[in-house]
Amino acid sequence: MRIAATINGQQMQADDVWPGESLLYVLRERLGLPGSKNACEQGECGSCTVYLDGIPVCACLVAAGQAQGRDIVTVEGLAGPSQLHPVQQAFLDAGAVQCGFCTPGLIVATHDLLSRDAEPTDLEIREALAGNLCRCTGYEKILDAVRLAASRMRAGG
């Protein structure tokens, strides 16, 4: 089947999609957007988090057909033309990236959290990111990154 959707602001189309494929597979293998990650492919880790019509979802749990005609934003679509999004910059500056496999999903989830809540408490950050596994960092620097991004964004950064 053919799938057409708006992805990171661009109209994109994939042909010969097998109906059993996930949105994650279509993004990664058919549309050249491997930024969303495949750590579990069954909704357990959050590494594949993307926006679907503005709502963060696990792309591995969205059937390809469900993406037809929708608006999708992936980690590849968050940075500006010449600079990183403050959430991305904060993950770098806080040292929250080790292997980085969890990072795209955490960045989308943090982006979503901070768009809803400009000043989350630590407990709120932990709740919001509880669906995103990271095996490398022990999460301390991820918390640092979210706090840093929040404060920079409040300051207009």
Binding site: W18, G20, E21, R28, E29, G32, L33, P34, G35, S36, K37, N38, A39, C40, E41, Q42, E44, C45, S47, T74, V75, E76, L78, A79, Q83, L84, Q88, Q89, F91, L92, D93, G95, V97, Q98, C99, G100, F101, C102, T103, P104, I107, L123, I125, R126, E127, L129, A130, G131, N132, L133, C134, R135, C136, T137, G138, Y139, E140, K141, I142, L143
Partner: protein, 795 residues
């Protein structure tokens, strides 16, 4: 060389707009060169690779832990539309064996399978689902056998031999002093550690591209390219020139990528079909696709004088190696030689066994043999302290190893070993505040009646599941210390190779570092840049793609890469700097004794800046390749375990504070405090990241993580059923990093990655014991162990 469309990129130098001390040398918090790629989704991990016209490879695995194979019929699978190849062991052109230390594992099973998940056949097809469905059509005729599922049973007389030489992989004997020593106070205990998974997030993945000339290029997420290459060459029957490996982006490793996974399989399919082959495991397959941490059964007896001085330790340690040897011999070596912890004991008698069983193969995981024993020896120290009526930290400090101590192997500890100081430091860190309402005191409702703030459920064991408002919740505090060898031990020729090039690009001096050492997330690429900046005085350092076109970098394991590859990069830089200085002096026509490189200039104390590096170099290129090894270690005596086995020790101490709902058995770790001696923090931020992440993995083993194996079958191969700590499980940490230089190591550094994984778990277990008063002999500690409905093994 054949190159895919989407391939691993060189890690760039620093963009001019980047902030902080991103371009710092050693001791600074330099930025990761791959960071921007990683936060924008551009970094190419193994599973992201892609080539035009590529096919997908899948693996058919044994459903049985032990069975004879009477036949394999591939006809129906091969006849499936979209399928290009179906391969079995008969299609392995070279030697159908692989293995890290012993070549005992078939690339594809022949007449027998020894564990559930053992690869039996391969399929290549134009879509992963087509390949999976075809694999299901392969008919394997199994004669199912009774599996051997326990290490002690495997070593008992009469057990079926799973390998030609029997079921014993290694028996390490450690004998020091009087084997029959006695003491006034004696404590004994029997302990078990469950099977832990590395649970790296990036699944096993790679892309094999045939070169059209009979050779192959393999892009793969791995820990040690050259040991992979050796095994792939043997299986393919090809020389190394025809099997070139390049490191793909690695999504975490922790030991689980030291053995082969899809390496040979993808190459076989690529050479057979003439097309690029991509293989990516899903999470379930990943649980079957790599080795795990050895489960352990350990019996310990500690004897001490009435004033707390350890007189003897006797221990018996059984490690279940599973179906193939992997790195079991070395794990046994570590568990045995360091199995009593960082304590001074005059009389030691340890027997450590690694056995073949039909359980999943076990091998390397962060902490490598020391994690298991630390649970046992630290539980024993607490038990001894309780029996003696002593403070547990005091007892540890009284017996702590220090500079000049003699380890049970007879090896003298010849650099700082601040065990007592580390313990003292974590003990003195401020404790987290008591929960509102008082721990073990009035319940939340009572607290509210007294006008105190109510609990936030999220601070309690069970969290928003609303399982308690504080009733039955008890706080406990526990301590533990870690002790780990750095680098490869027991006489292994442990070296790394670095090629450093210095040239002028666009008017700027640029250094390029080329090694085969695997960056797996820990930040080796950053450290290499920092070393180059310090040694060569240049800002711009490019990390060349990591591949087998340069000599081995050794394994990214054993906390060794900053030490060994760092040492190699430093040595190569020094050789390059020496040549650059010589060139400058030739151009100047005179010798300046202390001429050196700094900030892109040649400087001397007397004359200040003498010349610019760019000016002196012009179009010249200086390149040096250096093989660097640490001082040698030696095998231990087979009868006594005595010998200079380890090049360096690393130490850490943890304090854990937990709240335990004693009625439901739920545990919340409130805080972890850690002190670690790192010799020299090459990148302090990265050191913290290692301590935090390592501590989380130890916490996971203490209370959450276990591959549950029954009858040789993995019962929980998913992140729904195998739980790793989430951001809700991991508490805040206080960390104290000490820097006592090791005079034998580059910059005085000590390996960092493993010690925190070793001590955090035992500290958590100790805290739970303190909160509950229970003995708790087994980790992970489960709710039923705490509530008493299933107390675990008896001592």
């Amino acid at each position: 060389m054949s190159t895919p469309t989407r391939a691993p990129a060189a890690a760039p130098g620093i963009a001019p707009d980047q902030q902080r001390d991103r371009a710092s040398g050693i001791g600074g918090n330099a930025a990761r060169p791959d960071g921007t790629l990683k936060v924008t989704g551009q970094f190419a991990y193994g599973s992201d690779l892609w080539a035009d016209d590529m096919l997908w490879g899948v693996t058919l695995r044994s459903p049985h832990p032990y069975a004879r194979i009477r036949g394999v019929a591939v006809g129906e699978a091969l006849a499936t539309g979209g399928v290009f190849a179906v391969l079995t062991h008969a299609d392995v052109p070279g030697k159908n064996r692989c293995g890290l230390e012993h070549s005992d594992q078939p690339v594809l099973a022949e007449d027998v399978v020894r564990y559930q998940g053992e690869p039996v056949a391969l399929v290549a097809a134009d879509h992963p689902e087509v390949a999976l469905r075809a694999a299901k059509k392969i008919a394997v005729d199994y004669q199912v056998l009774d599996p051997v599922t326990e290490a002690r049973a495997a070593l008992a007389p009469g057990a079926p031999a799973l390998h030609p030489d029997g079921n014993l992989v290694r028996h390490l004997k450690l004998r020091k002093g009087d084997p029959a020593a006695s003491a006034e106070v004696v404590v004994t205990g029997c302990y078990q550690v469950g099977m832990q998974d590395q649970a790296f997030l990036g699944p096993e993945a790679g892309l094999a591209v045939p070169d059209g000339l009979g050779g192959v290029d393999l892009y793969v997420a791995t820990q040690w390219l050259h040991v992979d290459q050796r095994q792939v060459c043997a299986a393919l029957g090809l020389p190394p020139e025809q099997v070139r490996l390049t490191l793909a982006g690695v999504g975490g490793a922790f030991g689980g990528r030291e053995d082969l996974s899809m390496h040979v399989h993808a190459c076989l399919l690529a050479l057979h079909t003439g097309k690029p082959i991509k293989m990516v495991y899903n999470r379930e397959e990943s649980f079957f696709g790599h080795v795990h941490r050895h489960p352990a059964t350990m019996r310990y007896e500690h004897g001490a004088s009435a004033d707390g001085k350890l007189q003897y330790v006797r221990a018996e340690i059984y490690l279940d190696g599973g179906a193939y040897a992997s790195s079991t011999p070395a794990v046994v070596g570590n568990a045995g030689t360091m199995g009593i912890g960082p304590y001074v004991v005059p009389n030691v008698h340890v027997d450590c066994y690694g056995a073949y069983t039909n359980n999943p193969p076990c091998g390397a995981m962060r902490g490598f043999g020391s994690v298991q024993t630390a649970f046992a020896y630290e539980a024993q120290m607490d038990k001894l302290a309780a029996t003696l009526g002593m403070d547990p930290v005091e007892l540890r400090c009284l017996n702590a190893m220090s500079l000049g101590s003699e380890a049970p192997t007879g090896q003298i500890v010849d650099s700082q070993a601040p065990v007592a100081e580390l313990l003292d430091r974590v003990r003195k860190m401020p404790l987290p505040p008591a929960r509102a309402g008082g721990i073990g005191g009035p319940s939340a409702l009572a607290a509210q009646r007294h006008g105190q703030p109510a609990f936030d459920l999220r601070d309690l064991p069970g969290g928003v599941a609303n399982t308690t408002h504080g009733e039955g919740v008890r706080r406990g505090i526990g301590y533990a210390v870690a002790y780990k060898n750095v680098g490869f031990s027991e006489g292994f020729d442990d070296y790394s190779t670095a090629r450093v090039r210095l040239e002028v690009i666009g008017g700027e001096p640029v250094a390029t570092v080329h090694t085969a050492a695997a960056e797996v997330g820990q930040g080796l690429v950053t450290v290499q840049q920092q070393i180059c900046r310090t040694e060569l005085g240049v800002d711009q350092v490019v990390i060349h793609p990591v591949n087998t076109q340069v000599g081995s970098g050794g394994s990214t394991s054993a906390s060794r890469q900053t030490y060994v590859t760092g040492g190699a990069v430093r040595a190569a830089c020094q050789a390059v700097a020496g040549q650059a200085v010589a060139l400058a002096q030739r151009q100047l026509g005179r010798t300046i004794a202390d001429l050196r490189l700094d900030g892109g200039q040649f400087v001397s104390a007397a004359e200040g800046t003498v010349a610019s590096l760019a000016g002196v170099l012009g179009s010249d290129i200086i390149e040096e390749t250096v093989e660097w090894r640490h001082r040698p270690t030696y095998p231990v005596d087979p009868e006594t375990g005595q010998g200079f086995a380890h090049v360096q020790y690393a130490f850490a101490a943890h304090r854990a504070v937990v709240d335990v709902d004693t009625e439901l058995g739920l545990v919340k770790v409130v805080e972890l405090a850690c002190a670690q001696d790192v010799g020299k923090a090459i990148n302090p931020d990265a050191v913290l990241g290692q301590i935090q992440g390592g501590s989380a993995q130890g916490l996971g083993l203490a209370i959450m993580e276990e591959i549950q194996v029954s009858d040789g079958m993995i019962r929980n191969p998913s992140f729904t059923d195998y739980l790793i700590p989430t951001i809700l499980d991991m508490p805040p940490m206080q960390i104290d990093v000490l820097e006592y230089p090791d005079p034998n190591a580059p910059y005085g550094l000590r390996g960092v990655g493993e010690p925190p994984t070793i001590s955090s778990g035992p500290a958590v277990a100790a805290a739970i014991r303190a909160a509950t008063g229970l003995e708790l002999h087994r980790v992970p500690i489960r709710p039923e162990h705490i509530t008493g409905s299933m107390p675990g093994p008896a001592p």
